[in-house]
Point group: D2
Chain length 366, copies 4
Amino acid sequence: MSGNTMGLLFTVTSFGESHGPAIGCVVDGCPPGLEISEADIQAELDRRKPGTSRHVTQRREPDAVEILSGVYEGKTTGTPIALLIRNTDQRSKDYGNIADTFRPGHADYCYWHKYGIRDPRGGGRSSARETAVRVAAGAIAKKWLHQRYGIVIRGHMSQIGEIAIPFKGWEHVSGNPFFAADPEVVPQLESYMDSVRKSLDSIGARLRVVAENVPVGWGEPVFDRLDADIAHAMMSINAVKGVEIGAGFGCVTQRGSEHGDELTPQGFASNHAGGVLGGISTGQDIEVSIAIKPTSSIAQPRRSIDKQGQPLTMETHGRHDPCVGIRATPIAEAMLALVLIDHALRHRAQCGDVSVDTPRIAGRIG
Amino acid sequence: MSGNTMGLLFTVTSFGESHGPAIGCVVDGCPPGLEISEADIQAELDRRKPGTSRHVTQRREPDAVEILSGVYEGKTTGTPIALLIRNTDQRSKDYGNIADTFRPGHADYCYWHKYGIRDPRGGGRSSARETAVRVAAGAIAKKWLHQRYGIVIRGHMSQIGEIAIPFKGWEHVSGNPFFAADPEVVPQLESYMDSVRKSLDSIGARLRVVAENVPVGWGEPVFDRLDADIAHAMMSINAVKGVEIGAGFGCVTQRGSEHGDELTPQGFASNHAGGVLGGISTGQDIEVSIAIKPTSSIAQPRRSIDKQGQPLTMETHGRHDPCVGIRATPIAEAMLALVLIDHALRHRAQCGDVSVDTPRIAGRIG
Amino acid sequence: MSGNTMGLLFTVTSFGESHGPAIGCVVDGCPPGLEISEADIQAELDRRKPGTSRHVTQRREPDAVEILSGVYEGKTTGTPIALLIRNTDQRSKDYGNIADTFRPGHADYCYWHKYGIRDPRGGGRSSARETAVRVAAGAIAKKWLHQRYGIVIRGHMSQIGEIAIPFKGWEHVSGNPFFAADPEVVPQLESYMDSVRKSLDSIGARLRVVAENVPVGWGEPVFDRLDADIAHAMMSINAVKGVEIGAGFGCVTQRGSEHGDELTPQGFASNHAGGVLGGISTGQDIEVSIAIKPTSSIAQPRRSIDKQGQPLTMETHGRHDPCVGIRATPIAEAMLALVLIDHALRHRAQCGDVSVDTPRIAGRIG
Amino acid sequence: MSGNTMGLLFTVTSFGESHGPAIGCVVDGCPPGLEISEADIQAELDRRKPGTSRHVTQRREPDAVEILSGVYEGKTTGTPIALLIRNTDQRSKDYGNIADTFRPGHADYCYWHKYGIRDPRGGGRSSARETAVRVAAGAIAKKWLHQRYGIVIRGHMSQIGEIAIPFKGWEHVSGNPFFAADPEVVPQLESYMDSVRKSLDSIGARLRVVAENVPVGWGEPVFDRLDADIAHAMMSINAVKGVEIGAGFGCVTQRGSEHGDELTPQGFASNHAGGVLGGISTGQDIEVSIAIKPTSSIAQPRRSIDKQGQPLTMETHGRHDPCVGIRATPIAEAMLALVLIDHALRHRAQCGDVSVDTPRIAGRIG
C-alpha cells in the first residue's frame, strides 16, 4: 500500500502539488447510501481556508471541491469518491532560485535526497496545502460517523507559545480565528500573534481533539490499536511533532492509583486513558493532543546550503502562516474521523455490527 | 492487513496469549543472506526478561526462542522466519473470578465488549508478555540495519515519576536495572522504586530512543511518513500514552527562529526536528521519546464492575512490575528498528539502493 | 486496501463511472526520474479507443488524459501521479427504465444487491469504460519497464469464436482492427464479425499476452507468486473468465517428461512454464492467455426481472462492441505491465537491485 | 503486505520449509465465538495426507496440527490463531548434490536467482508440503462459512490426463483415492495411473471446485473482484497453470445469446457466469476449474545445469506423487474458502451484514 493512501477499508489516496494543476483524493470503501454533497465538504474546507484573518496566510485559495465519482443522486454508491480541488492562486514567478536551495525546517533537502528530483513550486508535495484534501475526505467520514453512531468530533487550540488556552466550551471555538474555546483569551492571543509577526518569527501550538459517542470495542490490537492508528494519523500531519492520548506525557508522573480509571455501574470514574485501553475504545471520549511546530518559513535570515553544498543565507518573504497550528484544528478533526471510520468498518467486519446499546451475549459467533 | 501484522515489506505477524501454549511471530520479507542465530535473538530477549532485579516482576520466564523456518545454515533465505517462545511459567490456578470481572486500567473490559469472549488468563492477548515477540523480531531488524548501514539503535530511561534522569553516556545504560544513562542517579531510583512498591502503587516513566546513522531519504509521505510510522509503532506498545519526535511538545513554545534547524556545509546546525523533516529522514539522529503509564495492576483496592455490571472492589496481588517502563527500553528499540527496516526496503523499492555517500545525480531514473 | 487499488508498491487507485463527470486514477509509488508526458499515455489510450472500426462500438470518446500531479518538467517526481479523463459523450437520456431492471450478463443485479443503490447510467462503475484508466496507468509502467530492463509487453488476439488466429509476427498486430498477428486471416474475421453483428449477437475471444526480457527472480511466493498476481490482474478485467500461464489447461494432458522445461547452458529448452516456476520468473518470456466472454448487451430479447422481482423482456440497442475482446488487448498488456512493475519494486526492496546480467554471488546480504 | 500473507481481513500468514523443524501459519481476523478444535482441522488435513494409496507419494507425514493461540475453551477469541505442524519424516541424507543443481520444472533455479541462497532440502519453501498449512487454515474458514451462511465448498477431479471424469454426485468423491465423482471410472483411473507410474512419468489433471449458498453481493470491484481473488488464490497453489470461472475458456466460442444468464423470478436460468458477474457473487454456485501440471520430479533422465552453469543429467527417484493433482482437491477447496471468508468480512465491513433473505431497501445507509 503506497505512502499516499491511508486506511485499510475506508481509504484516502491523496495526490497533488501545491502549485500543480490540482490537488485531490480518492475515497474508497465508503458505505453506500450516505447523503453527501459538495456543500457538505465545502463547509469543512472553509473552516481551514487561508485568508480569513490577519493571523493566517493571506494566500487566497477558494479551495472549491468537485465530486467526480461515487455519488449518484446525492448519495454515495459504495464506489470510489474522487474529490478534485483545482489550484487557482498559482502566482507565476521564477522558482529557479528556490529550486537550487533547501529552506531550513522544510522538507526540501529530504525530498531532493530521497527522489533525486523535486517540484520546488510552493513546497510541491510537502506543502501544507495538501492537508485540504484530508479535510475534504474527513467531511465524509464525519458525516457517516455522526449519522450512524452519533459521533461528534471537535477540536480546539489549547496552547499557543507560552499561552495556555482554557477550555470554556465548544460553542466558543467558531467565534474566533484561533479555534480557542475561551473568548476572553482572544484579545491576548491577537496581540501575542501580532508581536510574533512583527518580530518576523513564528510560534508553535498545541491542539486538542475529542471524539464523543464512540462505541466501546473499536481498535485492532496488537499493532493496529486505535490509539496507534490515531498517533499515525496525527503525526502524518505537516508540522506535528508530538501526540498524546488521554493523560499523555502527564502519565509519567502519575501513580497507578491515580491514572487507572475505575469502573462503576454508571461508567468509568475518570478518563486518564483518553478513551482507549489495550488499543480498543472504552466508550469514553477519545482525547487526543498534538504539538505543532512553528512555521519554518520566516522572514529572518537563516543559514542554509544549495544543491552543491555551498553555504548561503535565505529569508522567506511572502504569504505564510505565523502559526501553522491556527488552521490545523479542522485537519486534526478530519484525521481523527478518518481513523474512526476505518476502525468502525474493521470492527464490524470481524465482529459484526453490534449496536452500542445491545448487551454482549457470551458465545455469540461473530 | 490484519491488526496483528506490522510493516508493509518487512512484516511481523504476532500471535499468542500470556498463558496459552506459546507466543511467537512470523517475520516476512527479511532480506536474504543475513547471518542470524537463536543466540542473536536471545541476547535481546534477555535484556527485557523479567526477574532480573527487585524492581521488576518476579515472574520467571526463560523466554527461550526457537527459529522454526527461514534460516538455512545460519543465514536468512528470504522466506518467512517463524519464531516460537513456549510459555513455561503458567501457574495453574482458578481464573473463574478474574474471568467475570474487569481490572481497572486494563483491556479486559474492551476485549470483552469487542469480541464477546476473552481469554482471562494473565491478561490473555493484552498481556505485556506479547512484547517479547517484538523484541525477538526487532533483533533481526537491528542486525541487518547495523550490518548494511551501520545503524545503531539505543534507548534509555529519561524520567521515572518526578525524577528526571540525565543522559551521561550510552555506556552506563546496561550497568543498572533501570536502563538509566547516569550511574549516579541509580541509588535515588532504587530508593524511589522501593517507596513506590511499599506504598502498593506504581509509577509512570519516560523513555528516549535514538537511531544513529540512518541515511537521508527514508519515509513515504504524505501518510506513511517515517515519523508517523514511528508514532504508530511506539503507541502500539502496551501502556504508551504519548510519542514525541525531536523537540516534541517542546516545540509548542519554540519560535521558528529557534526550532528550524539551519543547514551548513558541515551538516545541520541542530536537531530539533529529531531527524525527520516532511516525514523523511534527514540523516541526523532519529530522536524519539515515549510516555509509559504506571502499571494498572496494584495491590490497593480499586472499584470495578463484573460482566453483569455489578460493582465490586478488587486489588491485584502477585508478580507485577511496579513500573512497566523499566523493562520497556528493549521494546522501544525493537519497534524503532522494525519501522526503520521496513522503510529501508520501501525506499529502495521505489528509489533504488543509493548509498548514503553517493551524491544524488539529477535526472536519474529510480 | 480498498478494492479499487491494485498493487502493493506501484499502486493504481481507480475511480469513475461511465457517465459521471470523469474517470481517472492515482498512480503511486512510481520511481522518480522517468520522462512521461500526456502524449505517451495518450498513445496507449488511442489503441483501446472506441469508434475505430465497424467491429467495435461507435461510441465516440476522445479519452483525452490530463496529468494532474506527480510530474515536474516532464519527469516523474516519485509523488502520486493523478490521471484524469473527462467523460464527454454522455448522451442525456432517461435512465428511469434501466434503473429499475437488471440487464442479463451484466453486474446490475449484483451491484444493486451489494450496495442497495447503483448508478445505472451506462453501467456506472461496472462499465468497460473503466478499463481506459488501466491502460493509462499501464502506459507509465510499460515505459519504465522498457527503459530500465528492456522489457517489451505485447498482446494479440489468438481466437475469436471458432476461428483460431495463427501467430505470424508482432508486426502484423497494429495493421488490423482485431489485433490479429496474421494479416491473412483478417478478411475471414471481418466477415465473421459482420455475420455475428447481423445475427444481433456477440462472440467470445481469446487473447495472448507476452512479456519479453523479464529478469529471473520476480515474484513473491507462496501467495503473491508472479503468476498468481497476473491471474488476479487478468481476471479483474471486465468479461474475463479464464487465465492461463504457459501451457495452461494444456498441461492437463501433458506428461511430466513433456511439460517440465529442461535447462541447458544456453537456457531453458522449452517454455511450457510460461516464464514462471514456483511463482518466480524464470527469465523466459511470460506467456499469458485469457478468455473473454461475449458481450452481454445484445439486441435480442432476453428474459430478466426488475427490482421488484417481476419478469420482463429486454433487448439492448445502442452502441455496443459485438466482441469486447477486440479492444481488450491493450488492457491485458497494461495489466501485465502493472503486475510486473509492482514485482520489480517488490523484488528490489527485499533482494536489492541485482542486474539481470550479474551472476549471483552466494552469501550476499540482500 | 508480505508475499506469505493472503487475505485482507481474514489473513493467513504461512511459514515453513519442507525439511525444517515445522510448517505452520497464523490466521488473523477470524470472527470470535467459533467453536474450533484440532480435530476439526485434522479432519481436513487427513484428506490431503500422503501415503493413503499407491497413487500418491509414500512419504509418511502424520501432519498433526497444534493450535498455539487464539482459541479459549474451544472457541475462537478473535485474536490470532497460530497453527503448528512439526515436520517428522525428515530422512537424514546428504543434500550436497541437490544443493548445487536445479531440478527441471522446479523452482530451484528461480529461488536461487531471486535470493542468492536457498534451502535445498526437499524443495525447501517451494515444496508442496507447504499446502498443508492452507488446508489447515481453510478448515477454519469452511466451518465459519458453513455455520453462518450454510455455505458448502466441495471439489472433485474432473480430468486426469486424457480421461475426463464425469460428475455423478458428491457422495462418490470420498470413496476413492482420486476424488472422482464417479465410481465407475475409478478402475480405469487406477490402471491409467499404474501405467503412468510404470513409464516413470507423471501426468496433469483438472479439478473443479464449487461453493454453494454463497450470498449475492460478495466481491470488491474493480480490482478485488471475487473472481479475481479466486484466480489469485488458485494460481498460488503449487503446479496450477490455469483457472476458469464458470464457462471459462468455453466462453470463447459462445455467443452472447448463449452465455448471458437470463434472470427469472425463480432465479437465474443458467450459470455460465459461474456465480460471479462484474466481480460480485450472484447468489448462484461459485464454479471454479483449475489445471494442475504433471509432477516435475520423475525418474527419467532430464537435462539440467548446476550453479556454475555446467550441463548435467539428473533423474529424481524417491517418494513423489505421479499426479500432484490427486491430492490437490482439499487444497483448492481450502483456497476457495479462504477467499470467500475474506470477502464475507470485507462485504459486511462496507455494507453491513444484510442477511441473504432480507430484501434490499433502497436508500439504506450501509
